[in-house]
């Protein structure tokens, strides 16, 4: 099947897939951007002109801060950088299909990895705010026999998060590939706008938004 993920090379016997290589490329882009942008912020005096690039960077970072703040409230300061990182990465990963990459998010390993981190953050926040006793007690509420259901409910969060993102991106990718085999010109262009741009931005947003909401409601 041609949608299988190719193994790029082996690193000491461990297979490094196309997904990982593409992830590294996206990471390199983001890190290069960060390094280029950060220099002027560390040295700039408050009244200095940041330039167009600096202002744009500030606008993006400040915009994400505000958005995370409006969703998470006082927890934004602690979780803001991770949520921003997650959103930036997912956005570029989902959009990377536009330049012919196989989106790293069209691989369950990627989405499940991120969902696992979200799961740990959610459980960690709950543990911290309820205490160890309160945390375990919450699984037996409102009735003790609902314990299995509570466990399933908690585990459903990372599974639904990861499969939603993975399914949407993979589905879009498959539809576009099939379309290219039938009509390779003109028709695919507007569909890219839907499957890659619209769906990609929306799914990145949904994943981060749900992570924020679950962390906030874990209190």
């Amino acid at each position: 099947m041609e949608f299988e993920i190719k193994t790029a090379f082996y690193l000491g016997g461990i297979p490094v897939t196309e997904t990982v290589v593409n992830t590294w490329i996206i990471m390199a882009v983001l890190i290069a951007f960060a390094l280029a942008a950060a220099r002027r912020f560390t040295t700039a005096a408050p009244e200095d002109d940041l330039g167009t690039f600096g202002l744009l960077t500030e606008m993006v970072v400040d915009g994400m801060n505000r958005f995370i703040g409006s969703t998470m409230g006082e927890k934004a300061a602690a979780f803001g950088p991770y949520i921003s990182t997650l959103f930036s990465f997912l956005l570029l990963a989902n959009l990377s299909g536009l330049v012919g990459f196989r989106p790293p998010t069209a691989d369950l390993n990627t989405t499940l990895a991120f969902a696992s981190i979200s799961f740990l953050l959610i459980q960690g926040t709950a543990l911290r705010s309820k205490g160890i006793v309160g945390y375990f007690k919450s699984f037996f509420e409102p009735m003790f026999f609902l314990f299995p259901l509570n466990i399933v409910g908690e585990l459903a969060t990372p599974i639904s998060l990861s499969f939603r993102l993975f399914g949407n991106i993979l589905g879009g990718m498959i539809i576009m590939s099939l379309l290219y085999q039938v009509i390779p010109i003109l028709i695919p262009a507007p569909l890219h706008i839907y499957f890659d741009i619209f769906s990609g931005i929306l799914q990145a947003f949904i994943f981060t938004m749900l992570t924020m909401v679950f962390i906030s409601s874990a209190d």
Binding site: F3, I31, F41, P46, N109, L112, L170
Partner: protein
């Protein structure tokens, strides 16, 4: 694709590395800068407000001082006018007094001069009389004619000078 593989662990490490790098090199500097600038802006705003309040206070003080100065100037003018009037009255009074004194003195001097003139005339008459008498004597007049002559002379003299 759906089966789990090493990629899962790679991706966990990748996102954590990306998180640490972006936090260190992007979010921290940018957020620090935003905080620094907010502080700076708030400081400037506070300073501006303080300056404005101080300027307003100074303006009120200046206005109060100006009003005070105006009032003082008005008072000074009034006082000067008053002094001027008093001085004018004094000068006029003194002039009147001096004029009266001068007139009195002049009158007195005139009186004295008149008396002195009379005195001198009398002496002159007396010596004239003696000279006349001598002249007559030289012409050998009779005692009778002599007396008559003196008396008539004296009479004429009285008529002319005394009256």
């Amino acid at each position: 694709m759906i089966e789990l593989s090493w990629t899962y662990f790679f991706q966990i490490v990748n996102i954590l590395i990306l998180y640490l790098v972006l936090r260190r090199y992007l979010y921290k500097p940018v957020n620090d800068f935003i905080a620094r600038r907010r502080e700076h802006t708030e400081g400037m705003l506070k300073e501006a407000n303080e300056s404005y309040a101080r300027a307003k206070e100074l303006q009120q003080q200046a206005e109060a001082q100006l009003n005070e100065a105006r009032r003082e100037a008005q008072a000074l003018i009034e006082q000067a006018v008053e002094t001027g009037k008093t001085m004018a009255a004094e000068i006029a009074e003194r002039a009147r007094t001096e004029e009266a004194a001068r007139r009195e003195r002049l009158e007195r001097e005139m009186e004295e001069a008149k008396n002195r003139a009379l005195q001198e005339l009398r002496q002159e008459v007396a010596s004239l009389s003696v000279k006349v008498a001598e002249k007559i004597l030289e012409q050998n007049l009779s005692p009778k004619a002599h007396t008559q002559l003196i008396e008539s002379a004296l009479e004429r003299m009285d008529d002319t000078y005394v009256n």
